[in-house]
Symmetry: C2
Subunit: 339 residues, 2 copies
């Protein structure tokens, strides 16, 4: 049974997988574990789940088409499970929560396209609609307090094109910091910090990579990683589901544009994309009445071009090897072929 | 000129290298940048600094022997520089500190031994003495507020065996969190959280990997990474320099033991080792009188056995794929050959 454990010094929760299938020897650096494990969905199955349409539609929870575009499946090797009621325990200085959470795989395309950048804008829009749909469904479960959707892309991977959703009974530390930072700024200025960043970036025109009618993509002023991207809706909203107009289509267009720039300008690097769509822990807690005013949905995309060293891993202190302004200029000038 | 930039939302400082030599094209994933760049100390020099003893001793700032064992050199491609007085600037929502800090390379052995685990305990003790010596020297400079020493090891690297020291005008966020967490616990319990962890771990005997007369090495209860190690002096001390007895020799012995277990039990993985020796930002600030009671020096060693995914990179929320108890048992039972 996976469990959440809290670091007693800094208060950071981590997920500890205590599945018996993962033995120490399997994690040690040996020749056996170097080849890619293949498609995640096939890991624990002799035949592919996806090749058996019957199983797939049986598991599908949010297929948007009869000819489905994106669907969510329970992870076959989940980091968390929602089977049990939450069980909080303490022993001495150590705190634990057992057995609560959800881990889903969101398959973005029935074809093995590999890179979401090669889907059409319409298809990416449907994937985003599936994300929003799953986040909304999770909000209904009182056991989960935060839902994070993220995607890890590896070039030349034989895996399906998929994202992952984790719903958990605590908010990750980094996310709590964002919520608190945004709230503190609002209390001081009565303005949303994200909106102020958009205004300043639009004025300075130094770190913007792309924009369209509803979204803006920029390299953050204090980037942790080279070519890190922050995508924001221009109109203030704490919830992507309430953004009006063709918000999901606009978001899809800017995501596709950035990912094609990565592929064609940066040599198709691995990347991680994280969707900060869900601020609802605070809505539930009911403490912070200003959440709708101070939080602003956003997406981070981080190409993995440099190695993370001890300084970053251990101390959480990042050295970014190029200026965000240079990175933004380079990506802005990277023209992409959409063929 | 490198500069420090502050994330306006979460308050995290990052170092932005804006050297002209690093152009975006050089960071993009191309075939040209895949080979290892060779010895760091030789990067900007046609001949090796170390092959010219004259140059070396000219730069050496803390050679402990005439036949030097460990010495510190200014980094030839520094992330920070101490040349100028600190210049704090704000522009709109963005804060910057320019031109302050020190980045040093601490060479651990004049021979190209590759792995510090192969040095004798006496030699590792001398390296630790050099670290302590450099931290003390840095404390004297009012421009620096925190000093972090860390080591990144890569197997089969042709680089010298070295660690890095960064002295900076702000404390990294993760370190500030440790200091605040330790202080909050002390205020509540009037006990050191690290001492309480040692007591509980000694009682439970589940996560201890090794111990000797003065030090204990354990896998943290809420490990972020598989086989992560925390090394603590058993006797409370906020400052390794004031630990009595043969503290540096005991620390050296337990470090060597753990690193040999990594090499022989985990297949010689890359690792990062971070030395949390310096709590002196708080001493300087003078706000927290309890720093000597509530902070406890420690060392973290993190083998790099798994890939960091979007979840960890982006959200700072870690999934550890094995139970710390299993990792500790495995390492405890790994017998090492010291030959």
């Amino acid at each position: 049974m996976p469990e959440l454990r809290k670091d007693p010094i800094v208060g950071r929760w981590v997920i500890i997988s205590v599945e018996r299938s993962r033995r120490p020897k399997n994690i040690a650096r040996t020749k056996q574990n170097s080849p890619e494990p293949g498609c995640l969905l096939c890991l624990d199955n002799s035949s592919s789940l996806l090749s058996e349409k019957g199983i797939l539609s049986g598991l599908s929870q949010s297929a948007h088409d009869v000819q489905w575009q994106a669907c969510s499946l329970p992870d076959t090797n989940p980091a968390l499970r929602m089977e049990n009621p939450p069980e909080r325990k303490g022993k001495g200085v150590f705190d634990t929560i057992r057995g609560v959470g959800t881990h889903e795989i969101i398959v973005e395309d029935p074809e093995r396209c590999g890179n979401i950048a090669h889907l059409t804008e319409e298809q990416i829009g449907k994937v985003l609609a599936c994300f929003v749909d799953r986040v909304k469904k999770m909000e209904g479960d009182p056991r989960s307090k935060y839902v994070l959707i993220y995607k890890d892309y590896e070039p030349h991977s034989k895996k399906l094109c998929f994202s992952q959703l984790i719903a958990m009974p605590v908010a990750p530390k980094r996310i709590r910091e964002k919520l608190i930072g945004a709230r503190n700024y609002f209390q001081l200025h009565e303005r949303c910090i994200f909106c102020d960043i958009i205004k300043q970036e639009t004025r300075e025109q130094k770190r913007i990579v792309a924009e369209n009618d509803q979204f803006i993509a920029l390299v953050p002023f204090a980037s942790r990683f080279p070519f890190e991207i922050l995508i924001l809706p221009k109109q203030h909203s704490h919830d992507i589901a309430v953004l009006g107009g063709n918000a999901q289509a606009s978001a899809a267009a800017i995501i596709k544009n950035i990912l094609l720039k990565f592929e064609q300008g940066l040599g198709d690097p691995s990347y991680s994309m994280i969707f900060y769509f869900s601020p609802y822990i605070e809505k539930k807690a009911g403490h912070w009445k200003t959440i709708e005013e101070d939080y602003h949905v956003h997406i981070e995309i981080i190409p993995r071009l440099t190695n993370i060293a001890g300084f970053e891993w251990g101390a959480g202190f990042f050295i970014c090897p190029i200026a965000p302004e240079d990175a933004a200029l380079y990506l802005r000038e990277t023209e992409v072929c959409r063929g």
